[in-house]
Every structure is written in C-alpha cells, then in structure tokens.
C-alpha cells in the first residue's frame, strides 16, 4: 500500500512531509519526556521485529493466498501511540531507502497513512474504547481486528486522496475508492487476525507485558487528542487545497466539492490561484505545472479560470513529436557514453 513518488506531485508530497515532520517531532518530544528509557532499545528491536515479520507469509485458510502482519496496531498496543508512530516511521524510512518502497518524496504520505492513522486514530479511537481499561483476551483480540481493519481502510483512503490531489493518475475518485477499499478490507482483516493471534498468544504466555503496556501509556487526556485531530484536519485541508491548484485535471471528488461549495469559495479560490500564479512566475519553481490548458470538454469551469499560457501538449504536431523522440534518443545515447567515459575516468 506504499504510495509512490511517481504518482504524487511535489506539493502533495511536500505538504505531507511537513505534516509528518511536525507529527514526528511531537512524538519524539513525547517519547523523550517519557521517563522510561528502557523504550530506546525496545522500540528499535520491535521495529526490526515488525520489519522482519512483514516478510513472513501467513496462509489464509480456504483462499490459497497469504497475508502479512501490518504492525501499526501491534506496535501501538505494545509501545503506546507516540513510540509506535516513531517506530513505524523508522521502518518506512529504511524501506524507502533500501527497498525503494514508496520513495523519498512519498515518505511523508506513507508515514501518515501507515503510521499516523493506525497509531493516532485507530488505536486511541477504536482499539482503546473497544478494549477498555481492564481488557479480557477476547476483547483485546476483537479490538485489534477492528482497529486493524479500520486503520487500513483509512490508510487506503489516504492513498486515494493523495493520488487524486496529485493529479498524475487519471483514475476517477469513485473507481479508485471502489478498487482500493474492498481490497484493503480483505488485507486489513488478514492483518487484524494475525495481530489478534499474536496478541492472544502474548496474553496467554506473558500477560504482564500487555498489562504493563496498558499501565505505561499515559495517552494524553483530551487536549492532545484535540490537537491531533486539528492537525489531521489541517493536513487534509492544506494537502487538499494546495493540490487543488497542482492538479490539472480535477475529477470526481473535486467536482463534487465544486458542486457543494458556493460561488464565493470559487471566487476565493480564484484569488488564491492568481496569487500562486504570480508567485510561480516569480520564483519559477514549478512553471506550467498547473497551467496546462485542459481539453475544453474536460473542465470548462477550470478552463475559464486558467491563465491562458501556451500549452505544450494538446497542440503538438507531428513535427515536434518526431523532433522530441529523436532528441530523446540522442540524449539517452549521449548520457550513456558520458557515463561510460566517467566510469573509465573513475577507474584510473
């Protein structure tokens, strides 16, 4: 379920990076303030545990397919949300670097989807209320299944939104959601069952670990939760609005926002848009990124508001594309030979 660099825009990636960075330093402060220094090695080793355990195949009875451990809920149960969040962030970072799972720009998205959502939403808002303060084995298992499923559903929805706001994929909102959510329901169920099986085992063999974990978590009173929810909404909002301008091709969801939002808001968006256009011309960081002339049938509303810059693609003629293709070929050949030369030079 890793979000990939190739599918996101720098603005969505950047916004999610900023959100995640904020969350991570918040979590780091929390963990640091936690007097329990024992957590330093515990977090490290449990991170390695989840990382390695994710590679073990678990046969799903009756299907012939296999499931994997998710890890988010398991870590939150054992470590509490803050330490679990940091642990997942470290796992995803190493995965992004060594296995190119996701990618560097998408790392923010991935940590949010697979770290924040299970640790700070599914765990405190689903698992905790379901299990209560003096949990039985049954309730723990039930809670971990439900929390895993919901956590993954949220994560999958995060992927959908981030992809959508990036505007690189053409998948319409409804199709994407219909693809992602059911698949991840099945995956989440498997993850939940595996998590429940592990937790069930630990409950029987070493109940003190779970009891200690419950006691050890001064999961902040409501203010922290409120802060987090505000952060969450803010993230969605900034990610959403910024990407609005980044996306050249609004589809399903954005249209539905359009339909429900009043005229004034569109007006406001226009002003912001103008500001961004000016800003971009000044710093020329992402010129023409969001000013591609859309095809008229596609989105008349946006088209009106677009600054009518010269658009490169829709009006391409044969001559230019031939030039482009042959030029690309030459460039590749050139790159190859220069690299070969460098290699020879480097070996000397």
């Amino acid at each position: 379920m890793h979000m990939a660099d190739a599918l996101i825009s720098p603005i969505v990636g950047g916004a999610m990076w900023a959100t995640t960075a904020g969350l991570a330093s918040y979590a780091a402060k929390k963990v640091q303030r936690d007097i329990d220094e024992q957590k330093v090695p515990l977090m490290g080793v449990l991170g390695a545990f989840v990382f390695a355990a994710q590679m073990i195949n678990f046969t799903i009875p009756g299907t012939g397919s296999s499931g994997h451990l998710g890890g988010g809920i398991l870590l939150a149960i054992l470590l509490g949300p803050h330490a679990a969040f940091l642990t997942i962030a470290s796992i995803l970072t190493v995965q992004a670097l060594f296995f190119a799972d996701g990618g560097l720009l998408a790392l923010g998205c991935n940590i949010f989807n697979m770290g924040f959502l299970p640790c700070y939403i599914a765990y405190p808002l689903i698992y905790k209320p379901l299990t209560g303060s003096n949990p039985s084995q049954r309730r723990i298992m039930f809670g971990s299944i439900v929390a895993s499923v919901i956590g993954l559903q949220l994560g999958a929805f995060g992927v959908v939104l981030e992809t959508l706001f990036s505007g690189i994929s053409e998948l319409p909102f409804s199709t994407f959601v219909l693809l992602m959510q059911p698949i991840h329901f099945a995956i989440g169920l498997a993850e939940g069952l595996i998590t429940a099986a592990v937790i069930g085992f630990v409950y029987q063999e070493a109940p003190h670990i779970l009891k200690k974990a419950v006691l050890n978590q001064p999961l902040g009173a409501t203010p922290i939760k409120k802060v987090l929810i505000v952060l969450f909404v803010l993230a969605l909002f900034t990610g959403g609005t910024l990407s609005w301008f980044a996306s050249t091709n609004p589809d399903g969801l954005e249209w539905s926002i359009f339909a429900t939002s009043g005229e004034e808001e569109v007006q406001a968006a226009d002003e912001v848009h103008g500001f961004f256009a000016q800003l971009q011309e000044k710093i020329a960081f992402l010129p023409d990124y969001n000013f591609k002339q859309p095809t008229p049938s596609d989105q008349p509303l946006i088209a009106k508001t677009e600054s009518s810059k010269e658009a490169a693609w829709p009006s391409v003629d044969t001559g230019t594309s031939v030039a482009g293709i042959s030029g690309s070929f030459i460039t590749l050949v050139l790159a190859y030979f220069i690299a070969k030369g460098l290699q020879v030079a480097a070996k000397r």
Partner: protein
C-alpha cells in the same frame, strides 16, 4: 520464506556497495541527501504529460552508477519488484484519458498513454535515485546527515537501532521459518493454527532481547541519552558537486534539451 532471505541478501548487498571508497562515496552525506531530494522534487514537478524533458535527467542516475561503481542489474531488479503497483495505477490513465494529443503519422496517441509513459519514467528515476543514495552513502552516514540537519535525535537513534537489529532478527526469523517449513508439508506459508504461537514466540524472544540490550547499555553508563559522534564535513568539493547537479536539474527543467537537439537534427537534414 524466499522473500525473507532475498530481502536480507539485498540489504547486505546494498550495505556492501555503500562500503566502497569511490569519489561519490567520499562526499559528505548531507550533500548527497540534498542532491537526491532536489532530484526527486524536480522529477515529480514535471507535468504529467511530459516525456521528452524527463529524458536528460536519466543522466543523473547513469552518471552516479558509473562513478559510484554500482551494478546496474541490482538496482534494476529492485525496480521490477516495486513497479507493479505504480504500473497498475498508471495503466488506468490510457483508459480514462483518451483525448488525442499527438500523432505519429497515422498513429494517434492519447493523453493517457503519454501520461502513463511519463509515470513510468518518473518511477524509474525516483526509485533509482533513492537506491543510489543508500548504495553510495550507507545508513549510518545518512543518519548522521539527518541528525546534522536537525532531525530529532530519538528518530535518528530509532532508525539506527532498528537497522542494527534488523540484521539479527532477519537471520533469526529465517531460521525459525525454515524450522517451521521443514516440519510442515503443506503450502509455503504459516498455517493459521501456528500464526499466534510462531509470531508470538518470536515477539517474546525479541522483547527479552530488548531487555538484555537495555541491561548491556546500563552496564556501560547509559543514562537515557545516546551520544552520537560527529561525522562528515562539508567541503568545497561538496558545494561544487551540489551546485553542478542543481544547475543541471534546473537546466533540464526549463529547457527541453531533446526537443532542441531533435530540431537541430531535423534542420540539419
């Protein structure tokens, strides 16, 4: 189980590559980190219908693989493993975006295909650049760089610790799962009856290990604070390296080099 083993070998392979001493390896880790981030930002900032302008950027990974003495096949293998999800999502583009945007003689190309190809190129560029970063820098130096640019210490320590014990646990898990599969005669996965006990045992062992590590730390004066040694220095060479690539990236971003080259070529004839 094959997955466990092959991933572990991959990890060790990248580690080996990072241990070389080429010009690229000797650069300051911060420099390489920032260069990589700049590259990824530039690549992803291209509009989704861009193909030709992206091509010159392939020079960056190709040059680094040459200078850093990295084998092409290893990085490409990783790429093949990663590709399916992105290609799957990308393949919807030709279905949903059929507006004709270009024609090559009788062949009409839709916007969807253009953007699909663009996604694929971006995938190749971003994946290789991340792998190159780690294969020329190594996790320890990357963490030192992260610490230097102000990432909170608990996060850096966490990554280092996690990575350290990943090697130990991968080996342990591999042995456990081999022991399991030697005594089970059905499929390659873990039977549901053993889900909890197999993973649970490993979890308990892991937690006991954490306890022992903690004691070992205490025995050497651990007081809740891990002191990291300063590492790496930014030199003139690093600045030149960074400025060179940044200039190159921006040049590629704002000038469609293949288009210009192609035009020159066509005009020549």
């Amino acid at each position: 189980m094959i997955k466990l083993e092959s991933n572990w070998l991959d990890l060790r392979r990248l580690d080996d590559l990072a241990n070389q001493k080429t010009f690229i390896h000797c650069l300051d880790p911060c420099t390489k980190l920032f260069t990589t981030l700049a590259f990824v930002m530039i690549v992803t900032s291209f509009s989704k219908y861009e193909i030709t302008s992206l091509i010159p950027l392939t020079f960056y990974p190709i040059a680094l693989m040459a200078l850093g003495n990295l084998p092409y096949n290893h990085l490409l293998k990783r790429l093949v493993v990663i590709a399916p999800f992105v290609v799957f999502v990308g393949l919807f583009n030709p279905i949903f975006d059929q507006s004709p945007v270009a024609n090559l003689g009788p062949l009409v190309i839709s916007g969807g295909w253009i953007s699909f190809i663009s996604i694929t190129i971006k995938l190749i560029l971003t994946v290789t650049s991340a792998l190159i970063l780690v294969a020329t820098t190594g996790i320890n130096s990357i963490c030192a760089a992260l610490f230097r640019i102000g990432i909170p210490k608990p996060i850096v320590i966490q990554i280092l610790f996690m990575y350290r014990y990943l090697h130990v646990l991968l080996e342990e898990f591999l042995i456990t799962s081999q022991a399991y599969s030697l005594r089970s005669f059905h499929s390659s996965g873990i039977h549901y009856k053993a889900w909890g006990s197999l993973l649970g045992q490993l979890l308990l062992r892991t937690m006991a290990r954490a306890q022992r590590i903690y004691q070992a730390m205490l025995c050497r004066g651990f007081d809740g604070e891990i002191r990291l040694l300063a590492m790496g220095m930014r030199t003139k060479r690093d600045n030149i390296y960074f400025v060179f690539w940044l200039a190159f990236f921006l040049f590629c971003r704002f000038l469609n080099i293949p288009q210009v080259l192609g035009k020159l070529l066509l005009e020549g004839f």
